[in-house]
Symmetry: C2
Subunit: 568 residues, 2 copies
């Protein structure tokens, strides 16, 4: 205790008036980005993608708002990546396009980043990107006022990192996604000794994963699935087997390959993400099997199916994924036979996926395929996120003055805060932050700073603005109605009949009367203030207003109304 207090005093010693700022820019669970700022220095942790929600119509994915980094670009010293999951690194090319910041990441993450940079869009600057190896074995990195080092944690991808960020205001321990696993499949157990040592040195703040904070006890070890695949392959001798899992779960893939070799089956990766992941993992030694253990998907077509195990992408039923295509008999190279098996070794129903997964499963069953998953078999999956047991143990070892739960929903953040209260810490020592919120640390105390504005940045292959997404929302429920008003080039008068075209609103064949009346509404609005030459803007607004009111009354719907004049 003596020792601990002495050390803590060292932290308290800081009397600088420059605050250490913690800026939460990600949305909680995905598109992770945290900014640490001290005076003229900024470092960022993670830069991942997010996944569109229902009302983000047509959006492929979302990237973190980089405005704050760009506005302060002269301060940005480096970007540190915690682990090789897309929601923590996959938006990096979009940042690098705007700002050539040095990136610090482990080997695995670096290989995935290099893959991304091969995309056409990024090729022209990929050679100027500065990637630095950074993991639990490398030396601390000093960038401006910050010194950053890493320690090993467990997660569902190997070699994940916790970070120790030292600043003149004190030390922050940043632990994105993690669990405590004493018997992981590929890498070592989480380095609790290092965490304990850092805790003894005195920690100002712990930024901790909280995704599992609503769940009691400890999460199981990845090794608890060791018997799953050998016994499955034993039972399913003579059968065709597909296994679907998330492509980044390399230790799961290792367990499957291991069991496949013992069962005399060759592994056939199906789907770009799985193939890429297996290739990278093989090259880095995470999958220590000979090439002979694997087989290409085209070659596999003609072979006895009971000599193979397919590992197929699309465990969340993603439309267009290999598994989705398989379930519709639309995959070009593989097909599942009647009497074959599809095995889900993946998280059961993460938010927003249940309907897509249900459809894939139903389609498979209609094809005479048997489905094995958490509903009919135990030990099919363990999560990479610690439960309250894991989270409490780490919090107790780090024993910081302040806590910032990260990587969770508002509810999970709140449950983490309650957990901290029960551990005997001051419940007020937890900052429950939302996107854009800021905590400022100064002289060993902390207050909320001024929130910064954060907006979703949509990516859909073409540049997108929030207005476009909003319009798609309107179009999706009520359709569109276009009013074309022919106007004479000379004199600017209406010449000829107003035309109305509509789609996705009403069934035109059965709604002639409604469209006729709509035309009357438009004509009246034009006549009300017929000076098209000088007041087209006003007339246009009137048409929109009157028509909206009329249609809403008649149909209860409000289609997107476009009023367009055509000059003749």
């Amino acid at each position: 205790m003596e020792f601990k207090n002495t050390k803590k005093t060292a932290v308290k010693g800081s009397t600088s008036n420059i605050p250490l700022r913690f800026v939460a820019i990600g949305d909680g669970v995905t598109k992770n980005l945290t900014v640490y700022e001290y005076g003229e220095d900024i470092i960022a942790v993670d830069f991942g993608i997010g996944f569109p929600e229902l009302e983000d119509f047509g959006v492929d994915f979302i990237i973190p708002d980089m405005t704050y980094l760009l506005e302060n670009s002269h301060k940005v010293r480096g970007l540190f990546i915690t682990h090789a999951h897309a929601d923590h690194f996959a938006a990096i090319p979009f940042l690098l396009k705007e700002l050539n910041v040095p990136v610090y990441a482990n080997k695995l993450t670096q290989e995935f980043i290099k893959e991304l940079l091969e995309e056409k869009e990024f090729k022209r600057f990929k050679d100027s990107v500065s990637l630095h190896l950074f993991d639990a074995s490398t030396n601390p990195v000093s960038l401006g006022a910050f010194t950053v080092s890493a320690f090993h944690v467990n997660h569902s991808v190997p070699d994940s990192l916790g970070m120790v960020i030292k600043s003149p205001q004190g030390t922050v321990v940043h632990m994105a996604d993690f669990k405590i696993d004493q018997t992981p499949v590929i890498d070592a157990p989480i380095d609790l000794e290092a965490i304990s040592r850092i805790g003894e040195e005195g920690v100002l703040c712990l930024a901790s994963d909280c995704l599992g904070a609503s769940k009691d006890g400890f999460i199981e070890s990845e090794r608890s699935l060791d018997e799953t695949f050998p016994s499955l392959f034993g039972e399913l001798q003579g059968k065709q087997i597909f296994i679907t899992t998330i492509s980044s779960n390399i230790s799961r893939i290792r367990q499957i390959v291991d069991a496949a070799i013992k069962a005399g089956r060759k592994v056939v990766p199906v789907g770009r993400s799985i193939e890429k992941s297996i290739n990278i993992a093989k090259n880095l030694g995470y999958l220590p099997f000979s090439d002979n253990a694997f087989m290409g998907v085209k070659k596999a077509e003609g072979l006895p199916q009971d000599s193979l195990v397919y590992i197929i992408a699309g465990c969340f039923g993603q439309p267009g994924s290999s598994l989705d295509k398989l379930s519709r008999r639309e995959h070009r190279h593989v097909s599942v036979k009647k009497g074959g098996y599809v095995v889900f070794s993946s998280e059961p129903n993460p938010p927003g996926t249940d309907i897509a997964v249900g459809r894939v499963v139903d389609n498979l069953i209609l094809m005479g395929v048997e489905v094995i998953d958490h509903l009919n078999r135990n030990a099919m999956h363990v999560s990479g996120h610690g439960h309250r047991g894991d989270l409490s143990q780490v919090a107790s070892l780090v024993k910081p003055k302040y806590f910032i739960p990260i990587g969770g929903t508002i509810r999970q953040i709140h449950d983490y805060a309650k957990m901290i209260g029960k551990l005997g810490f001051n419940e007020n020592s937890v900052f429950e932050l939302q996107e854009g919120e800021v905590v400022e640390f100064r002289n060993n105390s902390a207050v909320k700073g001024k929130r910064i504005e954060v907006h979703d940045q949509y990516v859909d292959g073409i540049g997108l603005s929030p207005i476009v997404i909003r319009d798609r929302g309107l179009l999706s429920t009520d359709g569109v109605l276009v009013v074309v008003v022919p106007v004479s080039r000379k004199g600017r008068q209406r010449v000829g009949k107003v035309d109305i075209i509509t789609r996705g609103f009403i069934y035109v064949k059965e709604s002639k009367a409604l469209l006729g009346k709509s035309r009357d509404v438009v004509n009246k609005a034009i006549e009300k203030d017929g000076d098209i030459a000088n007041n087209w803007g006003g007339i246009k607004t009137n048409i929109e207003k009157d028509l909206k009111k009329f249609l809403s009354k008649e149909t209860g719907r409000e289609p997107l109304i476009i009023v367009h004049s055509i000059f003749i």
Copy 2:
């Protein structure tokens, strides 16, 4: 065994060549409708609504396809309703609008139907509707070749019915949603004696609920929640409490009211569905409490909040529901205070609801409200659908020659079939049916008949066709692009410039070049075959085709393209 065989022979005695037809028209889980047909007689069981899926843009709900009933309207003798759940009865007015068929239902269902008929749309024929009391206590009803009687089953709404449908080809036992509950809250335990007796008489086919067929063991009794609310109210003395549950779960409401009275709190129903349900249940004696136990929502505003318990609609986070409004501070009459509690006593995350519920919960937590649900407390809900234990027991008592699992997904239907196999029945005795599929029973054997065509019937306040829904789908992801071609009334030539208007596709301000090039594509397509007078149709198709190809190549998107000529 002797006895059983003898009885079965009685069924085998039928030698009529007219088949008994079982036509599955509902989609499995919702919008239930089953048609039984024998020669010139048809009876239907249930006529409920379905709920739109993601791609049913803007649809409020779906009703069963009534084409088969209308095409055979001269045969339709009666409609029997199994229980008072919307997915089993709420589409009835739409059928009655087209066909005045006698409806047989229990008291509770009748009251709900009467409520529906009060809607403006149905008022003009509501007085000619012929409603007949039909439940476990009424005499068998003979309609044409059919004789129908009912027995009592348990479910999450009181007085649910199983049906015995006797036809010249044998007896079908029709058991929609049910569970075995030896200690229900309101009504009696399921009448296993009656079921056993019917089984002994010999049953041709059991049409059985299968929603719980993927789950092991027996579902818990509704009474297992008896302690839930008293202990909750004990712990939350002095606190504001909202409880949300599904409005039709009258026994749950009874448990809440019971506990509220003992805790000295008055019950405040919030939301139309909850108010309606409580009113009807009170009038029928299902809620034997004095009016004094309840309080109107407006009156409650000014009272001490710890003297009340709100029962609020919207347990699945439905947008626009009372709970949704409460969580956004948009409810006109009630507001939840900081430190208040919202308790979910409802099914955790039925398909497609997790994101909506998550948002409501997160909003509440941001308001400083505590949420209690299955994640942090046991015994918050029990299902109304039996698990494999319940389903097996009933199957063994009925011991029919054939089985048709109903009311489940394709997977649940398949799991029911596997369960039947394990019970020692012939697995081939189970018909796994999809929408529109038909089973024909003749001389004690059964075969699949010719599948009939079934289409979703959308209801969204205005009549909807599938084309409109399809267009909304396109609009929702890729937006719309309108091409206006001005054409001279005389001579039918292009006069003036082609105009292009777009919404929800690209951000116009940043895409002037793309729109310019699109105009070139249109002009070229017109010039290719410039005879607008004689070939506008062909030109229009060319414009659409060329533009689609061009935009897809440039942007990877395919907006809905509308080509419109305007005559001047």
